[in-house]
Symmetry: C2
């Protein structure tokens, strides 16, 4: 197959024409650049801002074949980008895909990566409109750029947190890290129900970016700051704290824990709290809003079957993140300053 | 330096605030996604389409340290993307930069790559609004996505060439390939004036994408099809021929040749024609327009100090590209079908 035949094999029939039309795509793959209408019919009376985000996944750094199928690599590469748009309160619209391929990969294997990309794209209504394929001497490198939109001037930044705000998450952190641990130790006998193991693996391999949650927070209008949890709860909190020039206090007792996570961490003799704070790649949203808005926001989330947890608060400060926990001996709360460690990749 | 310090070191003060403001940038580097206004003040009464293009440069595949400085790598990576926007008749607006860095590169070396990117960005008025930096186990990989705009419905595609059209180029092909040959054989004594050698090296290391030429063709409104010459004249002509379902005839006698190119190819005992047809990376524009518009278009180009050369014509056909040359013995023109060879990278 020549380059054109390969690209056609990878991308043909990946998406329904309806989806491309709904996203204003005039011309997708096959010219010097893709063409999309800046203004859709439904947008005529509304000004939008455009959101750009890019993420790269490098073989051996971000994934290994033992823990990620080729389809999962494609799915997750797009999902992590969509999550960045969700964290701005935006709608993901279009994506371009750049892939550098070592010669040991067959066109069929690359097709599996594209299948994963298209599965995620179709699930979230993202039109894949272009790309670049090159060879690579050693590692597979997959870079996806996603373009989204949000009503003009209303993107939710990480810099808006204010003292007195409630700190919240839209899901449970730590499952992806536990899933990775499980996949790396798959040879060990696991004394755990199959559905727990599956949930953790899925959390690592096919994270679900929270576009609906981001849009609901955006539409309710009271969210002050928002980040997606790609690098771990502690690290994302530190980014909000630094950008907003506030301190953030995470209350250990409030942190939601999934049963799968707590059972697996006990079984694997690992620290649940460590995974929650430093695991990363959960792609839930972490943010802050005024206390008086929290209850009705939580109710709105519940109505739509979505989760919202209060996990702490925002205080005046210099950009530090604190973990507050009850000291059983002293019978009072103690604070630990969380060093900004973030997510450690394989290398 | 941690990741934030490095990114700040590479990107700080790269661009004037005026440029970012003129490009509608509300928020550049430093959040989950960049935010740009879809509608600038000057655009209020005009609908635009957005153009997306992405290109990757991989160490050992697209560049080697013998032939490209780190600054040149950065400059050329952005230039090749800007050229794709030029080939649609568009205006380059924004870029996001993804770079995967092997540990043997120092932050200072990466800074040189960014310096090259910013030099090109500032020259062409492109706002660098975001990116992703990761490590890479072996090769440096640089992926740049450029977003441009063009008045709605007026992008110049490669599929519009019509029988009877004049085939034209906006510059001289082959110089980049000659420059690469020169750089790879720099140890050989070159019996050529320094300014010829410099021109060829510059053509390879710092190609000048032809945004002004693309915009002039766009504004004059008569251009039927347009491609930028990234993969060689023959290959780009084949893309237009296939997309437009026509044959393209290149007239060898009409092909413009630079003096530097002809002198160097004679000196290096290489075929000038081979470099012109198959060299690639010249980033001039190749297109077609109705015969009756050519003279006044050429005059408009001349007025602005820009070049336009007729090099052949479009005929009815099945998507083939022909080279027509005078056979001296037979005293008549002969045609050769140009196989689609394109540009051969190092590997």
């Amino acid at each position: 197959m020549d380059e054109f035949a390969r690209i056609s094999f990878w991308t043909n029939e990946g998406q329904a024409p309806d989806l491309l039309e709904a996203r204003g795509v005039r011309l997708a793959i096959g010219d010097d650049a893709a063409i999309v209408a800046a203004t859709n019919k439904e947008d005529r009376n509304e000004a939008y801002d455009w959101l750009y985000t890019v993420d790269t996944m490098v073989e051996e750094i971000h994934f290994k074949s033992e823990t990620m199928s080729l389809e999962a690599i494609g799915y997750k590469a797009l999902a992590s980008n969509i999550s960045d748009i969700a964290a701005m309160g935006g709608i993901p619209m279009h994506a371009v895909v750049a892939i550098s391929i070592p010669s040991r990969y067959s066109p069929q294997q690359i097709k599996q990566i594209y299948n994963g990309i298209y599965q995620c794209a179709n699930q979230y209504g993202v039109a894949i409109v272009g790309g670049d394929t090159t060879s690579s001497p050693h590692s597979l490198v997959l870079t996806i750029t996603v373009i989204g939109k949000v009503e003009a001037g209303t993107a939710i930044r990480r810099s808006g947190a204010k003292p007195g705000d409630v700190l919240f998450v839209t899901g449970i952190a730590g499952k992806s890290a536990a899933g990775l641990h499980l996949l790396l130790n798959a040879h060990q006998e696991q004394h755990l129900a199959q559905h727990h193991l599956e949930m953790l693996k899925q959390a690592h391999q096919a994270p679900q970016p929270q576009v609906a949650q981001g849009r609901l927070l955006h539409d309710l209008g009271s969210c002050h700051a928002l980040n997606d949890v790609s690098d771990g709860l502690a690290s994302e909190a530190a980014e909000i704290a630094a950008a907003s020039a506030v301190d953030i206090v995470i209350d250990e007792q409030l942190l939601p824990i999934s049963e799968s996570l707590s059972q697996y961490s006990a079984c694997a003799q690992q620290s649940t709290l460590e995974w929650i704070l430093y695991g990363g790649e959960d792609y839930i949203l972490l943010g802050s809003m005024p206390t008086e808005h929290f209850a009705k926001t939580k109710a709105a989330f519940s109505e739509q079957g979505m989760e919202l947890y209060e996990i702490g608060r925002v205080e005046q400060g210099q950009g530090e993140v604190w973990l507050e926990a009850l000291d059983a001996k002293l019978e009072r709360k103690q604070r630990t300053c969380l060093s900004k460690r973030g997510y450690n990749h394989f290398i």
